[in-house]
């Protein structure tokens, strides 16, 4: 076990090194001089030179990279060039917001997608099936930002039921927090619900054709028990795997949804930083995200190792 962990960790380190190079190169690929954007409208050459000096933009690329990595290794992601706040602080304050939004969206996606998938498989070729299919097609083909704006216009402007934007932490006021996040979470969960519905339907159809289901029916079990206890449980295995994969899509979807609903989360942080050429923030956010993915992969490998005895023998 220890040898396995050591081996995997040894693989993670070069991956992270490569990630850091890619993340750093990304800001070089961004067109436009960050100092010029930061200097605002006046663009006084002397001030431009001072800005370049302050943020090391006048240094050769490898020196800039070395400085940044040195800082990162010491837990310092630098500071936002636009607002002067440490990047680490910004990241830590935005992360919980996106996690809340993402979890809510995921719950909504499961609550819609899985029952709809089961229903359309069980009632295959019925009105319910067509309806669920039509809904999933709609969910897959509706862009987040469009649905977001339409919902704001309908629910907030016309009906006045929910606040159109903003965010309140659940620790401050959980009701207000729910009111501000339910609409963006629905928008975000919508497209994932469609994907989950399609896969649940396929998996259920396959499961319902299996011999054990026929046996269960032959035993005289009620249809509800056959569907819920025998077919669904087996059909859910691939759906759960897919659901976990879709979590990634959830976070990329959060980028647009947070813009539309003005939720101050991770996605909005990175979009604003890209537009303002606040490159230390962009680097910090991308590095933290990439590291999280790498670490989650590592954890998944460890979990497989613990669960699957065959891996242990190799």
């Amino acid at each position: 076990m220890l040898a396995f962990l050591a081996r995997r960790l040894a693989q993670v380190l070069p991956t992270l090194a490569v990630v850091s190079v890619i993340v750093f190169s990304l800001q070089l690929l961004l067109p436009g001089d960050p100092a010029l954007v930061l200097a605002g409208e006046d663009r006084d050459p002397k001030v431009l030179a001072e800005i370049r000096e302050r943020y090391g933009l006048d240094q050769p690329v490898h020196v800039q990279y070395a400085r940044w990595v040195w800082g990162v290794l010491h837990g310092d992601l630098g500071e936002s060039m636009r607002v002067g706040v440490p990047v680490g602080e910004l990241v830590m304050s935005k992360l919980p917001v996106t996690l809340q939004l993402g979890s809510m969206a995921f719950v909504i996606a499961c609550a819609i997608g899985i029952p709809a998938g089961v229903l359309s498989a069980v009632k295959k070729d019925s009105v319910w099936d067509y309806l669920a299919n039509a809904l999933s097609l709609w969910g897959l083909s509706t862009p987040n930002f469009w649905l977001g704006i339409m919902l704001i216009l309908l629910v907030s402007v016309q009906l006045g039921w929910l606040p159109p934007s903003g965010y309140v932490s659940p620790f401050e006021d959980w009701r207000q927090s729910l009111a501000t996040t339910i609409m963006p979470a629905f928008v975000l969960g919508n497209s994932i619900a469609a994907v989950l519905m399609r896969h649940t339907r396929a998996a259920m159809l396959q499961a319902l054709n299996q011999d054990y289901v026929r046996t269960a029916r032959a035993k005289g079990l009620t249809e509800a028990v056959v569907v819920n206890k025998h077919a669904l449980r087996n059909a859910l295995v691939p759906v759960v795997t897919l659901g976990a994969l879709e979590l990634g899509a959830l976070f990329s979807g959060a980028v647009l949804t947070e813009q539309v609903f003005t939720i101050p989360g991770f996605g909005k942080l990175v979009v604003d930083a890209v537009f303002n050429r606040d490159y230390l923030v962009v680097q910090g956010v991308v590095l933290v995200t990439a590291t999280a993915y790498v670490m989650l992969n590592l954890l998944a490998d460890v979990a497989y190792f613990l669960i699957n005895p065959r891996l242990r023998q190799e």
């Binding site: 067109p31 302050r54 704001i152 606040p163 159109p164 934007s165 006021d173 207000q176 009111a179 942080l269």
Partner: protein, 505 residues
């Protein structure tokens, strides 16, 4: 049915909870962007100035007619041929930390503007040689050369005073907790979400302040910003799209306030910056004149901006006393344009136009393309992301470039850096010795009539040389709910909170 009812009840409860949290005298303003550092010495964005209008008073202010009016100062006097400026300060003014706003604080703040590395203010007031405290309410500034626009600089961030005690203690981190002498004091800032200010009871003009709190919320999407206003989640928004104006004007719950800007939008031509200056449009003023005659600013204004902008041929807007009334926008004259091109030996000149990537400017470029085609021009549109287009302009990698300037109260701010030989924003490297001489002269003249004459002549010359083809002065559309009253539009498009009132819900 029962489920539907439960859902409705749930939503209604959420709405109630949402409504309850806003039921106080809080003014909520939607901004088009998240401001940069909230420190008057380093701040560089237009949107940041809107927040400063609530947070930091200035030595002077401008009114709706662009007249200079006192704020933290009560008056000023020029002496020694315009080289010495004596400023009298308002007595009994306090900073938000209770410190006195006196001559010493002014000396400290101006010194900070002048000597902090990366200061955005240095270039604006670099003419100040010494700052002397005469008595607690009098400051004497000695300038290296006479510079009439200095007073106008003090109506913006250069005139904002900060508490010396707080600024010294906070050092680099002052922007995280700014301490000024404005009507509202800083409470908190959550990046990309909100900036909260609360009423400062000891404000010198407190009787004119009618809110307990102000919350500025950056919402970058203009449709979403407007939707928030309509839904009652905001009381006021800035920078509405011109295309949203007609529908919003019809909305009985909204008031749309057009504010004519201090700046302009124009096409900068490359006359002398590298190889690209050799293109026909840069090399021959007749080609530029033909280009101007081939276009119709009014039509473009009607099509793209619903006729809400003000077509122009000069850098100074009609609201300014320095606007040259003799300069008229020429009508479209394709025949004359063709004749000019023939005279220049350029029947079908190619013009590469760099256009920052925004939907309205792309549309403007396309109309320009079809209009100038009739005169024989081959206009090629090069759409570029804004930051990259600026880089290209600095390098001289452009022939013609659509660029805007937000404008300054004093005309010098709209001209000097763009049209003088060493002006940092003279991207096309235009040079006319007469213009340079007159630009320096007008800076030294304090008398308005004399300055008007000089500036008028400068603008007539630049209209002949056409280093910049001025297109129009834009309009900033602000909108607020009918519950809000007392908003006074001033051409700088700032939101001055003094005098504004919010009716109870």
């Amino acid at each position: 049915m029962r489920m539907k009812r439960t859902l409705m009840a749930g939503l209604a409860a959420l709405a109630l909870a949402a409504g309850a949290a806003h039921a106080q005298t809080t003014l909520r303003i939607g901004l088009a962007e998240d401001p940069d550092a909230l420190d008057p010495t380093f701040a560089r964005t237009f949107v940041g100035r809107i927040v400063f209008a609530g947070l930091c008073d200035k030595l002077f202010d401008i009114d709706k007619d662009l007249k200079i009016v006192p704020q933290l100062a009560t008056g000023y006097e020029w002496s020694d041929g315009g080289k010495v400026l004596t400023i009298k300060l308002r007595p009994n003014v306090l900073f938000h930390d209770g410190e006195k706003m006196d001559a010493e604080a002014v000396r400290f703040s101006l010194d900070r503007h002048l000597n902090s590395p990366r200061s955005g203010r240095r270039a604006e007031i670099s003419v100040i040689k010494t700052i002397e405290v005469v008595d607690p309410l009098t400051v004497k500034l000695t300038l290296s050369t006479a510079f009439a626009p200095l007073i106008a600089q003090f109506t913006d961030r250069a005139g904002m005073m900060v508490s010396p005690k707080a600024a010294t203690a906070a050092g680099d981190q002052f922007a995280q907790k700014p301490v000024c002498a404005g009507p509202f004091k800083f409470v908190e800032r959550v990046a990309q979400d909100r900036i909260v200010l609360e009423k400062f009871p000891q404000y010198w003009n407190a009787a004119n302040v009618h809110f307990d709190r102000v919350i500025y919320r950056p919402i970058s999407d203009s449709s979403v910003r407007l939707a928030n206003l309509k839904a009652g989640a905001l009381d006021m928004i800035e920078r509405m799209l011109a295309t949203d104006v007609p529908a919003s004007k019809k909305d009985a719950k909204l008031v749309v306030v057009p504010v004519k800007e201090l700046g302009y939008q124009g096409i900068t031509f490359n006359l002398g910056n590298g190889e690209k200056a050799k293109a026909p449009i840069g090399a021959d003023p007749r080609v530029r004149e033909a280009f101007e005659l081939a276009i119709d600013r009014n039509v473009i204004n009607q099509v793209v901006y619903n006729g809400e902008y003000t077509p122009t041929v000069q850098a100074v807007p009609p609201s300014s006393p320095y606007h040259n009334k003799n300069l008229k926008v020429p009508g479209r004259d394709v025949a004359k344009a063709k004749a000019l091109l023939a005279a220049a030996g350029q029947k079908n000149p190619v013009v590469n136009l760099t256009v920052p990537n925004s939907p309205d400017l792309r549309q403007v470029a396309e109309i320009l393309q079809s209009m100038t085609k009739e005169a024989g021009f081959d206009l090629r549109i090069n759409v570029m992301e804004f930051a990259s287009s600026l880089n290209a302009a600095e390098r001289g990698d452009f022939e013609a470039y659509i660029l805007a300037w937000s404008g300054r109260p004093d005309p010098d701010g709209n001209l000097y850096v763009f049209i003088t030989k060493n002006g940092p924003q003279n991207y096309g490297k235009y040079f006319n010795a007469d213009v340079d001489k007159m630009m320096d002269e007008q800076r030294a003249v304090a008398d308005m009539t004399q300055r008007q004459a000089l500036l008028g002549k400068i603008m007539e010359t630049t209209h002949k040389d056409l280093p910049i083809l001025y297109l129009w002065h834009r309009t900033n559309f602000m909108a607020h709910t009918t519950k809000l009253t007392g908003f006074q539009p001033v051409p700088d498009a700032m939101i001055r909170l003094q005098g504004m009132k919010l009716a109870a819900n």
